[in-house]
Symmetry: C2
Subunit: 346 residues, 2 copies
């Protein structure tokens, strides 16, 4: 097992506000990052920049990099996905223009900007940063498991891709709305851009997984809450290592279990059944108690996007009664969601 | 979560037999790798090479690289540890001489040979390989969790550093001695050198942890056994991610729990109690059943190195009775160990 090279590692920090780069994107599906940023953090988005071939707009003002810089932008975010995860050659003039205008570049693409010599040379010459958010910080420490001050909430799931990020964002807003000091702690690419920082937990070397989670949610004031975006699930045959390291390192006081009714087989792993809500609660509490013996479940977040409003309301009420816990769909909000926030903070 | 770039990844393979390089080592403690190789796989060791300042010998014949090559050696293994994990400048002439003699270089040091330009240039010029065994293979796939043919045994533990590697090696020998086809699958640096290959599980990116374990123990004949070296433990506040990915990806039919009597606090994490043998059995079977529903415990390996022969015998008998399972110390062997092998194969 590894030893730490340094205790000085910090989570990724992004220079915002952003200029959203759309490239030559032809449909909204490939510009999910740009639209997610516009919807979740409009205050972090100054403008958009698209090539003439682009078919999509976020509705933000169109600006060249120099104009965006004059309006306060500090970085250009590549807000589109290209097939294969590569940075397209046709995007390069815009990226160089952004560096020359004094903006840093932020990318969540699979291919790394650090591997493109022209970008590296230009950024070095101009003193600008290339931030590949799939690359974890250097010198991550091994986890200690020791209790830190501050309070923590982790969203966990019964499958991938059913609302752990959305739930964490909504809970962080709900907690902050009560006047309680609170930070959303992002663990995936989109979440990191929304938060303006975070830790790409799936890209961390396994020996440092718990340590990376400890860095992400450092010691804080006793009444401060970190709301941490979950990744994967403990039951996942491919990604459970990520989930367990995140659980141990986050040492949450409270978990909220995210579930989509009717999802019986695991997304992308259809040979495996999804666990029940009760199984997910029980296993997360059991394993999480290793680093936080007082861990408890604050409630359940139901993704009812496939249901009508009436169906959703009925299911939320029935599940809450069945489980004896607050249940809410954060997208629908309402009194049920307020009860969920109450229970998390209680 | 990540997607695979390629399904062609393979475990590390080392070119053996070896020339063991001792450098200028002054004590046996810093030459553990060389002595481990001599003891475990003398058939893989041709000779040793030491600098004049060295104070230690493995007892193998001393040869220059060219002579070792003529005697069949295919690689020079750095069999010593230097403080800080670095390759010392004084070693370089010997390493260059080995490359020029036609040997590849194998290192388990923290500092990478791939980061030393003179070694890289010399190896490229001569068509030789530099194998840093702390560096995982490229293009590891995401795990699938799907059942593979062949049978698998994983050693697991109630703490780190109490005999998981030794137990796996001994069980692999015991199984092979019955005429059953069997491979030892190494997951740590020393084990990889002993086996002549393997997977450095602690250095794999977390998203690929289970996939790396799947690559390490590929589909095999129905009556073939892979005996897989465990890493860490599911209860470890720092390293549990490694252990869970290895458990899921190995999909073991049988686990053997390794334990040291009297070890009540975790090594290097003294704030945490070690789990009991029963807790380790139960949690490994529960989580392992996700990828192998027929997983079972084959027995317990006790590290009785702190006990006298009589004390060890009494404790082994008492623990076997208490747990209702075969219990043995593989270092002591004997009938108890044969019963453990029997139960694993049954």
């Amino acid at each position: 097992m590894s030893e730490s090279d340094s205790a000085a590692a910090r989570a990724i920090e992004l220079p915002f506000p952003y200029l959203l780069f759309l490239g030559d994107v032809e449909d909204k599906g490939h510009a999910k990052t740009a639209f997610g940023l516009r919807d979740w953090v409009p205050e972090k988005c100054v403008a958009e920049l698209a090539l003439p071939a682009a078919q999509v707009s976020t509705g933000l003002p169109a600006m060249r990099p120099a104009e965006a810089k004059a309006h306060g932008a500090r970085s250009l975010v590549i807000g589109v996905a290209a097939s294969g995860g590569a940075i397209k050659p046709g995007w390069m003039p815009s990226l160089i223009e952004a560096l020359e205008a004094g903006l840093d570049l932020v990318s969540g693409m699979h291919s790394r900007m650090a591997d493109i010599p022209l970008l590296v040379e230009t950024a070095q010459r101009l003193g600008r940063k290339l931030i590949d958010i799939r690359v974890p910080p250097a010198n991550l420490p091994v986890g200690t498991g020791l209790k830190r001050s501050g309070r923590r909430l982790l969203t966990v799931g019964t499958d991938c891709a059913l609302g752990k990020k959305y739930t964490a964002l909504a809970l962080a807003r709900g907690i902050a709305a009560r006047g309680v000091a609170c930070d959303f702690r992002a663990t995936g690419q989109t979440g990191i851009m929304i938060a303006g920082g975070g830790m790409p937990m799936d890209a961390v070397v396994a020996d440092f997984e718990a340590g990376a989670a400890e860095v992400l949610s450092p010691a804080a004031a006793d009444d401060h809450w970190d709301v941490i975006e979950g990744q994967g699930l403990l039951f996942h045959p491919s990604f459970a290592a990520v989930s367990l390291g995140l659980l141990h390192g986050s040492q949450p006081d409270v978990i909220v279990v995210c579930h989509e009714p009717g999802r019986h087989r695991m997304l992308g792993s259809e040979d495996f059944a999804t666990p029940s809500i009760e199984e997910a609660i029980e296993l997360n509490l059991r394993l999480g108690s290793r680093t936080n013996p007082t861990i408890r479940c604050g409630g359940v977040s139901l993704n009812t996007s496939e249901l009508s409003a009436d169906e959703a309301e009925a299911m939320i009420a029935a599940e809450s009664k069945r489980l004896g816990l607050p249940v809410a769909d954060p997208v629908r909000g309402g009194a049920a969601f307020e009860r969920l926030v109450d229970c998390c903070l209680s």
